[in-house]
């Protein structure tokens, strides 16, 4: 049995685990071992309490009422925007658009760029390791406009083939849309270099940051990224809420997307004028509790600190890589040198579904299947994988349990 690593205090880890009620759940009578953090993270009490408190004491519609409660709700809601802007290093909260999540953020850009900015013959560059949500919106845009989707290949290890990527950048390229951290493989893409090379060609860059922000500090200004998309629920906040960060000038140049309340300045049947950023892209009553809960999640993450998160997750990744590599017939899929704490693998010839089902009986939650990256699975020649993804609240002993579970599964499924 492995001990916790030297850098991580067992006391601190157990205190942190106590912040997450779900981690104490039992599944099939076994203590839950939650290793599906790339699908969604668990929520700390600070977030749960903040959302409860909002609904108990502050609930009112925002931007509407003259009454005090509406003002309290609006202050909390817009305060959340300020917090989020500061957290990601945006220049101003006008650059922070609230969405349902990463998927909607990507769709917003794909939809609005289709009104004039992207035309027939233009090209959009993605990679082979994109999530479907960073493929399909661009395919739809291409169908609508006659633009062309170019796909940068990856290596056997699951890294972007950078030479091929560079070759794809040309005078027809209008946008580069790349995943920051691969959800299926954990690969961390060289986003600084991508942004610098794309900007060198005058091409803006959109990053799908859904899997990056849970693991690392992202500063959109330091990156000089043009659009950055993320989801609250992967970052210990509520589901159904996310962010589209965009440089103000670029957002200003985009037409409105969904129409409705809150996004308008003045409506008349002879013509409607639209609200300013960021509200111009936020039609309808928003997910107020989502924004407020997410701000609480960011405060929680700050209280833990990305340095600690990085050290802990790095330890878990290396420990898990070494332990799982020792299992007969286990093949890790995705071996890039720079990885977030995600391990995809196959266990002999066993179907990932079978492995996941057997692990579930032991209380171990992993993801199985294609992880919404079917083109990537095809490229790697696998039908799908089993994926264990770690958060800072996971422990080495949980990895030992995973390994023991896999040994039993191998015995049954061999």
């Amino acid at each position: 049995m492995a001990s916790e690593s030297g850098t991580i205090s067992a006391d601190r880890l157990s205190a942190i685990r106590a912040d997450f009620p779900t981690l104490s759940a039992t599944v099939h009578g076994e203590p839950l071992v939650y290793l599906d953090n790339a699908a969604t993270s668990q929520k700390p009490l600070a977030v749960i309490k903040r959302i409860e408190d909002y609904y108990r004491n502050e609930n009112a519609n925002v931007h509407r009422g003259v009454h005090s409660l509406s003002q309290i709700a609006t202050d909390a809601y817009e305060g959340a925007r300020e917090k989020i802007a500061e957290f990601i290093g945006a220049t101003s909260s006008r650059e922070v658009i609230f969405t349902k999540g990463t998927t909607e953020s990507v769709n917003l850009i794909a939809a609005t760029m289709g009104f004039g900015q992207i035309k027939e013959g233009d090209e959009i560059v993605v990679t082979e390791m994109e999530h479907h949500s960073n493929i399909v919106p661009w395919q739809l845009l291409c169908e609508r406009t006659g633009a062309r989707l170019r796909v940068a290949p990856i290596t056997e290890e699951g890294e972007l083939d950078y030479n091929e990527f560079q070759i794809l950048l040309n005078e027809r390229t209008r946008l580069v849309a790349v995943v920051h951290v691969s959800n299926s493989l954990g690969t961390i893409n060289p986003v600084r270099r991508i942004i610098s090379d794309a900007h060198g060609m005058g091409v803006p860059v959109l990053l799908d940051g859904a899997q990056a922000v849970p693991h690392m500090k992202v500063d959109v200004s330091a990156l000089d990224v043009d659009f950055y998309c993320l989801s609250s629920h992967k970052l210990f906040g509520p589901t159904g809420f996310g962010i589209l960060y965009g440089k103000e000038a670029l957002l200003e140049a985009l037409p409105p997307w969904q129409g409705g309340g809150d996004m308008i300045e003045e409506v008349d049947f002879s013509g409607t004028t639209f609200n300013e950023l960021p509200h111009r892209f936020e039609a309808g009553t928003p997910h107020i509790a989502g924004a407020i809960g997410f701000a609480a999640a960011l405060e929680y993450v700050e209280s833990i600190g990305y340095d600690w998160i990085h050290d802990q997750e790095n330890d878990l990744l290396h420990y898990a890589t070494s332990v799982l590599s020792g299992i007969d017939g286990l093949r890790i899929i995705g071996t890039a040198p720079k990885k977030a704490s995600v391990i995809s693998f196959l266990l002999g010839n066993a179907h990932p579904y079978d492995v996941g089902t057997v692990l579930d009986r032991m209380g171990i939650a992993v993801r199985t299947g294609h992880h919404c990256t079917q083109p990537l699975m095809k490229r790697l020649g696998v039908p799908g994988t089993v994926r264990a993804s770690f958060a800072f609240y996971n422990s080495r002993s949980e990895i030992d349990q995973l390994a023991a579970g896999l040994e039993r599964a191998a015995g049954m499924l061999g």
Binding site: H351, Y353, D354, T357, R361, T368, R408, M412, L413
Partner: protein, 148 residues
Amino acid sequence: MSAQDLTTKANELVEEFALFDDWMDRYQYLIDLGKELEPLDEAFRTDDYRIHGCQSQVWLQPVPGTGTVSFKADSDAQITKGLIAILLRVVNGQPPALVAGTDLAFLDQIELKEHLSPTRKNGLDSMIRQIRLYAGALAAQSTRTDDN
């Protein structure tokens, strides 16, 4: 064949599974049953016979001409294949009208019902619907034949 036979077959399975008090042994038995499943001809492992249920692939071939329900099936996942074996053991050889209306409640007693949820992504739920659909069509066909 009658309702009695379907119930008897289901009860047999319930009793067989009751012999194991550990879930691992139950799953092992399930996997073993899958391995004993009559093989599906490669020609039927195509999209036309595929049940779309997400993660594991399931193929279902109705075998024509027997007057009773008769299926062959396969899956690329072992646990799914075991579940298929259980289902086919109960429904094959039964009168179509009976199968079309059965609720397969016995699966509850084997503690495998969780696998039949439409959200389980193993294709089993879709397969049961497909089995009932075929059985219903077969029953309607034989009624028409009787009328003639």
